[in-house]
């Protein structure tokens, strides 16, 4: 696939220098305990980065900082003005029909057509007039994705957006995100605890540990990716090792994804 299309897009970063995200010396403490401790991170424009880490390692906090939702921080954080978030729960306003949810917060007076176009991109054009309560879990999550994409973000922040979906819906949603990213060419930061998901989607996988990026690797596999690819399984074993999941637990991980178990 044309993986280099998104590379040509130049973002409208406030402080350009050719990066979509630049974080330096970031510290975020809760009650004196530093959850993020002197963190450095740079995302290239159009780059898809997956952020892995054990639960409680601060990866969601980092995403909230980048989204501008958490500002009790020290250090330097530069993000594009146009950014959008998709949370683990769809967080649609239940009192607004789907298309109004998509347009919520957009500047100016966007018309219904804008919303329907965005919904059609995620295959939900026919549900534009539905109440959020009538959507299935997968549909609600796609509506949430449409709401993020209609903002034409230079940076898309995804906080375990597939975590609450069933296995089949998750596979479809992952493919959708991969397709949308290749069309849009925005930088994406995907926070996840699923190594396979990270390796299926990302250009680069980072592991967060002790409040900083402890490990990073480029995922140099051809797209579309196959979890039974030997390169894929080798990378997965390496990342699982970094995450402190090895041996018997690694086998469990392998069963979960029905992929071959790697023994090192």
């Amino acid at each position: 696939m044309a993986t280099d299309i998104h590379r040509t897009v130049t973002p409208e970063t406030a402080d350009g220098a050719g990066a979509a995200v630049r974080v330096a010396g970031l510290v975020r403490s809760f009650d004196g305990r530093a959850v993020i401790d002197d963190l450095e991170l740079t995302l290239r424009p159009g780059e898809f980065v997956a952020l892995l880490g054990r639960s409680g390692c601060g990866k969601s906090t980092l995403l909230r900082v980048l989204a501008g939702l958490d500002r009790e921080i020290e250090g330097e954080v530069l993000v594009p003005r146009r950014k959008a978030v998709a949370f683990q729960a769809p967080r649609l306003m239940p009192w607004k029909k789907v298309w109004r949810n998509v347009l919520l917060g957009l500047p100016g007076r966007p018309d219904r057509g804008t919303a329907v176009a965005a919904l059609e991109e995620v295959g939900l054009g026919h549900r534009a007039d539905a109440w959020p309560k009538t959507l299935s879990g997968g549909e609600a999550q796609r509506a949430s994705l449409a709401r993020a994409l209609v903002r034409e973000p230079d940076l898309l922040l995804l906080d375990e957006p597939f975590g609450a979906l069933d296995a089949l819906t998750r596979i479809k949603a992952q493919r959708l995100v991969a397709d949308l990213w290749q069309q849009r060419g925005c930088a994406v930061l995907l926070v996840t605890h699923d190594v396979d998901e990270a390796l299926l989607l990302a250009d680069r996988a980072l592991v967060m540990e002790d409040g900083r990026i402890a490990y990073g690797t480029t995922v140099d596999l051809p797209r579309p990716r196959d979890i039974s690819d030997p390169g894929f399984t080798a990378l997965r074993a390496r990342l699982l090792g970094r995450l402190g999941v090895a041996g018997a637990e690694e086998q469990e991980q392998g069963q979960e994804t029905a992929g071959p178990t790697v023994a090192h």
């Binding site: 939702l69 967080r91 009192w95 917060g105 957009l106 309560k133």
Partner: protein, 299 residues
Amino acid sequence: MSLDQAVAGQAPPDTSAGAAALAEEGAPAGPPPELSRVVPVSGRRRSVPRWLRRTVGPVALLVLWQMLSATGALHEDILASPGTIAATGAGLISDGTLPSAMVVSLQRVAVGLVLGGVAGVALALVSGLSRLGEDLVDATVQMLRSIPWVGMIPLFIVWLGIGEAPKIALIALGVAFHLYLNVYAGIRGVDAQLVEAGTSLGLGRWGLIRHVVLPGALPGAMTGLRYSLATAWLALVFGEQVNADDGLGFLMNQAREFFRTDVIVVCLVVYAILGLLADFLVRALERLLLQWRPTFTGR
């Protein structure tokens, strides 16, 4: 089912033969379980519409009352019969006494509701939307709330005389407290995750209030409206017992002096009908405004 089992018990050779036959086929179990039919909901759909079913109770009560009056068990001076009351009601309507009294009373409720509603909602917005407002307003309102508002009648008469003002003030007071409490609770009950989502979508303070906080507080506000309507009628009854020279309460007071239980009941019925009508209006409003709510609506 018990019968079936009894029959099976009486005929052991049959069952054992069946079991043996099954065992030959390789199935280990005994006789197959008894099956019962799952009746589809549409199969037991009632032909009587719901609104009709709901009128059965009140109608039965009326019939019982009429029978007690007709047999003389219930004397006219204690409580007039439904028939007499209906005739009196018709008379009061045709000579214009009842309609003019209703107009006066309805006006009092409407004015009181508007004034109290504006005050209650405004205070709830101030204390619900800002910490400063909460500190300044909420403690004060909570303190005043502990005063029984009916007890304010003498003070209102001293302050406002015996005209319309004390009656309207009483209604407004009752309404304001209920709306305040429910709107405030509604605002504070809005899901913080939705507020955060709104922030991430670029909504400013007023955008958040308009698109997230106020719609989220609407269910609470509707509950408050229903409570405050009930309170408004109650306050009207109390207020009109004091020095009224027109309105439904005046009609009742006058009837009391002549032991006209029929007129008193007519006025009570009118109060009840108006109250029901108001409740019906609020329900209709709720159905319209809260159709987005994913809540259980009963089977």
